[in-house]
């Protein structure tokens, strides 16, 4: 696949220091807005950085719609919960854009406990020629004013202003893992480990609990909610995934409390693959509806699966992300990597799916041709404007020259967060504290 890399520009403006990884700079979420013009990232330090795509211009043929920093702001600060004597991390878990309804852009950002609605506005004009104030804003001496003038709007340097419009606090006892804006553009939901709440975007002091899987006796707790999302078209439908690998589709019209699912999607366990780690690797780390609304994409530790909403018995497609890790599960359990939560993404036409892996690798699967590719996001292996070279992990047997062996994979370099432009072949990959944006120069098929 021919791709352009745009790394140098992005990294230079995003990283504070090139030589070491600052904990606070680790990117924790990536999200394109609905047109793809804006790309938001959240990090562990509670900051949000928004990139804007430059319009393509004939004057600068090289900057074909590259992304530059548009705005940076501190979304969440660290807090302390005095009742529990626990620190509340400022890490941004998720960002979701609201559909644009006027000149301003809005997004929701959340940490473990609190969701905030931010409004992003541009100011590129300012009024000049006031009667009572002078250019610096000081009051004029009225005796010097001899005639009246109408203030005129003059252009100024673009200023991007960000302000918090709503703070949705105290809705969750447990850690928020997902937020999802409803297609009605009025409500959204937030999910933590045991509960899902429905909010109205304009009301901050009240939320409705729509799912509660907390058992009466915490002793009996064996399953938690791992992700959830609203259906892209049907405002009454949403799905949530669990740590046991099941998906539940719920209809809000059925009852106020959607504890009973409308549909349960679960794949029966393969008895030949059974081990003590079977449940852990079946835990779904991310669920995404396709743009069409017909399918769902789930990611568990070793695979990505496509589910048809009309079939609950099993997924319609299963893709192996890194099956060579299946024999390493105990070691991955020991070093906690088995609990890593990878995200997944659809492309705009729902024909290609993407997910991250270790060693800064990410994988793409073409659903039509059934071909897949492994690519690497790293400065060492890709210069700007170079074409990404497909990578291969060898598991013994014949080894080609540029292959990586399973044992030399770097498990600290994990690509957990990826995003795909809603319409074009542009992808955003978060590799620890670096953001990579890859563009497809030519509309070529995947090889």
């Amino acid at each position: 696949m021919g791709e352009d890399t745009d790394t140098r520009k992005i990294n230079h403006s995003f990283l504070r220091d090139h030589s070491y990884v600052t904990e606070a700079d680790i990117i924790s979420t990536v999200e394109f807005n609905h047109t793809g013009e804006l790309l938001a990232t959240g990090d562990k330090g509670g900051r949000v950085v928004i990139f804007q795509r430059e319009p393509e211009s004939k004057n600068a043929p090289h900057s074909q719609g590259e992304y530059d920093v548009y705005s940076t702001f501190q979304s969440h600060e660290p807090e302390f919960d005095y009742l529990k004597s626990l620190e509340i991390e400022e890490k941004i878990n998720k960002i979701k854009w609201l559909p644009q309804q006027n000149a301003a852009h809005s997004l929701l950002s959340t940490n473990d406990k609190t969701i905030k609605l931010w409004k992003i506005t541009e100011r590129d004009k300012r009024p000049e020629g006031y009667n009572l104030k002078d250019e610096e804003g000081k009051l004029k001496d009225l005796s010097t004013v001899t005639s009246l003038q109408v203030p005129v709007l003059k252009p100024m340097d673009l200023m991007v202003e960000v302000s918090p419009r709503r703070v949705f606090a105290n809705g969750h006892t447990y850690h928020i893992n997902s937020i999802s804006v409803n297609s009605d553009c009025e409500t959204y939901m937030s999910a933590d480990d045991l509960r899902i709440n429905l909010w109205h975007l304009a009301i901050t002091d009240r939320s409705f609990n729509i799912v509660d899987i907390k058992p009466a006796n915490m002793e009996d707790l064996t399953e938690v909610i791992t992700a959830s999302e609203f259906h892209p078209h049907h405002c009454n439908l949403f799905v949530y995934s669990s740590s046991k690998g099941s998906l539940r589709l719920c209809d809000m019209r059925a009852a106020a409390l959607c504890d009973k699912h409308s549909k349960l999607f679960e794949e029966p366990e393969d008895p030949s693959n059974r081990s003590f780690f079977s449940e852990i690797i079946s835990s779904v780390s991310d669920v995404k509806f396709s743009h069409s609304g017909r399918y769902m994409l789930t990611r568990d530790y070793l695979t990505v699966k496509v589910w048809d909403l009309n079939m609950e018995a099993r997924p319609v497609e299963t893709y192996q992300v890194h099956d060579y890790l299946r024999s390493k599960l105990c070691s991955l359990y020991e070093n906690d990597c088995i609990f890593d939560k990878f995200e997944c993404a659809w492309n705009g036409s729902d024909s290609v799916i993407m997910t991250g892996a270790y060693n800064n690798f990410f994988r793409m699967f073409d659903r039509n041709t059934k071909r897949d590719v492994t690519l690497e996001a790293s400065r060492e292996s890709s210069k700007p404007r170079a074409v990404l070279k497909p990578r291969r992990v060898c598991v013994g047997g014949k080894r080609r020259r540029d292959d990586i062996s399973v044992d030399s994979l770097d498990f600290t370099k994990k690509i957990l967060h990826t995003a795909w432009h809603p319409a074009e072949n542009i992808i955003a990959i978060a590799a620890t504290n670096n953001l990579y944006i890859f563009q497809d120069k030519v509309n070529s098929e995947m090889h």
């Binding site: 009742l83 006892t173 850690h175 064996t222 003590f276 780690f277 852990i280 299946r326 020991e334």
Partner: protein
């Protein structure tokens, strides 16, 4: 699959479920890539592997409570793994009940383990009315023993190095080795005893919060009473073990 002898950050080329420090045995070398334990059942080391996985899991759950923000999903998954192992061991008849006795155990081991729990209990203790009244003295008495044992210095300090959840996952925390060694030789029943000192009310913070919101001490003591009268384990020795494990798991899973 050829076995590689070079050690790397991944520790093993083939995953045989051995924890560190345990000798490899030849018999288990035929494991294929699947990792299915069924294939290993015939191997003599299977029960050893299972035991070490159980120990590792229990240590992980202990560490959960040492973290600033315990991850509930991770705790639940580990606890489920522990349950699975314990169920299988019960079926095999290898799950032994150990009477709570301290005679055969080195005081060093006991204090280190309790130290971990004491620290997490202290962290989880909210500054609420009367919470620690009935129970703090036990914890404090355990704590007071520690400084007088100079041999504890190294494990103690290394245990407390693990204080941040945001650690580099490439390398295994050093302190885990320390903790792991203390648990290495224990029988499953003895491990349960580690948690018997800690009252579950420390961890049932939801109940605490509910009690507080509901209104001062009356609500709070109701909650503690409810916890004190936890359901008795069902009759039968193997079921009793399961009941005890549930109690353990309840402590470990609650945030």
């Amino acid at each position: 699959m050829t076995r590689k002898s070079t050690r790397n950050s991944f520790q093993k080329s083939e995953d045989t479920m051995f924890a560190r420090g345990l000798k490899r045995k030849c018999a288990d070398g035929e494991e294929d890539g699947e990792g299915a334990l069924a294939a290993l059942r015939a191997a003599p080391s299977y029960s050893l592997q299972r035991q070490s996985l159980l120990d590792m899991s229990l240590v992980k759950l202990q560490l959960c409570h040492m973290l600033v923000e315990p991850n509930l999903c991770r705790s639940v998954l580990i606890a489920n793994t522990v349950r699975q192992i314990q169920e299988e061991m019960t079926q095999d008849g290898t799950w032994r009940v150990t009477a709570p006795q301290t005679v055969g155990r080195a005081p060093l081991d006991r204090l280190v383990s309790t130290e971990i729990l004491c620290r997490s209990a202290r962290e989880a203790e909210p500054p609420g009315p009367g919470l620690g009244d009935g129970h703090a003295p036990d914890v404090v008495s355990e704590l007071s023993v520690v400084p007088s044992a100079p041999a504890l210095q190294s494990p103690q300090s290394s245990v407390w190095e693990v204080d941040s959840p945001r650690e580099n996952r490439g390398s295994f925390p050093k302190s885990l080795d320390q903790i792991f060694e203390t648990l290495d030789s224990k029988t499953p029943g003895a491990v349960e005893e580690l948690f018997s000192d800690v009252d579950s009310s420390y961890y049932d913070l939801d109940a605490v919060l509910t009690g507080m919101v509901g209104g001062a001490k009356s609500g709070h003591s109701d909650t503690l009473d409810a916890l004190a009268s936890a359901p008795a384990p069902p009759p039968g020795s193997s079921c009793k073990d399961l009941g005890e494990l549930d109690h353990v798991v309840e402590i470990l899973v609650e945030t």
